[in-house]
């Protein structure tokens, strides 16, 4: 299980002061979904929190050659968020026996929170990277 909390104003400042960073952090689909919302930054912040929560649930931070866009939060037609993995993160998850990953998001009062829950085919190989040097 992984959890992450991100301040919406902090994300807003990150986006404002670093032109182009959105393309590094978010897939075109994530950006498009959030642009359709009245509170764009709230939604994009929640997606960033979700990426962090998923990587924490994996027991690792973002590793070498992994991209932030390798963890994508999409939405079902009913609006439920679902995680899609790509690239190096997908390869890592597959090789370590990931069976399923689920995520919940919420944002209120300037804070976005995400929980990620992972289910593994077995409890062995994922533990090897438990001590990755990742910041909170």
């Amino acid at each position: 299980m992984g959890i992450d909390v991100v301040g919406v104003r902090r994300m807003a400042r990150l986006l404002e002061e670093n032109h182009g960073i959105e393309d590094t952090l978010f897939t075109p689909g994530e950006q498009e979904y959030c642009r359709g919302k009245r509170r764009y930054v709230d939604h994009i912040t929640a997606r960033f929190a979700a990426k962090e929560a998923v990587l924490k649930a994996f027991g690792t931070g973002i590793g070498q050659r992994m991209r932030w866009t390798d963890v994508e939060v999409a939405n079902t037609s009913s609006g439920r968020p679902v995680v899609r993995l790509h690239g190096e993160v997908a390869a890592w998850a597959e090789s370590h026996g990931l069976a399923d990953v689920d995520v919940t998001l919420t944002h209120s009062a300037g804070i976005a929170v995400a929980h990620a829950l992972t289910v593994w085919a077995d409890d062995g190989p994922r533990r090897e990277s438990e001590h990755a040097l990742s910041p909170d």
Partner: protein, 134 residues
């Protein structure tokens, strides 16, 4: 493009000040990014993007741990109890020369290592990258 150690430090300090909203005095060479200055992962992203803008040197968040660990496999960098090994301490002394291995031997958890990373350590990394280092 190679940049001097002084230029690297200036770029890093400016990035830290801009991203964290701290005073230049607070962002001195010995200040640790996480513990002393309170940087979180989103702040590190901000700092690294600012450094890229000012120097052209791209460092990703994942590069920090790779740089610190120096290519040593996880199971050699730390022991079974997640404490940094002797080999790990030797590596840390190379990239974080301010640490005292004797004081940390046997009681430095792997996940705490990043909390020892200072403004100067990041500047050294930037300077090394600008010279084509890993």
């Amino acid at each position: 493009m190679a940049i001097s150690e002084t230029e690297a430090f200036t770029a890093v300090q400016e990035a830290v000040v801009g991203a964290l909203g701290v005073d230049e005095d607070e962002a001195g060479p010995d200040a640790t990014l996480m513990d002393d200055l309170g940087a979180e992962s989103i702040d590190l992203l901000d700092i690294l993007f600012r450094i890229e803008r000012s120097t052209g040197i791209k460092i990703q968040a994942a590069d920090l741990s790779t740089y610190i660990q120096g290519g040593i496999p996880d199971d050699e960098f730390a022991d079974g109890n997640e404490m940094i090994s002797e080999k790990g301490l030797e590596q840390l002394k190379k990239v974080m020369p301010q640490i005292d291995p004797d004081a940390l031997r046997g009681n430095l958890e792997a996940e705490k290592v990043i909390s020892l990373f200072t403004v100067q350590n990041l500047a050294d990394m930037v300077a090394q990258r600008s010279n084509g280092g890993a």
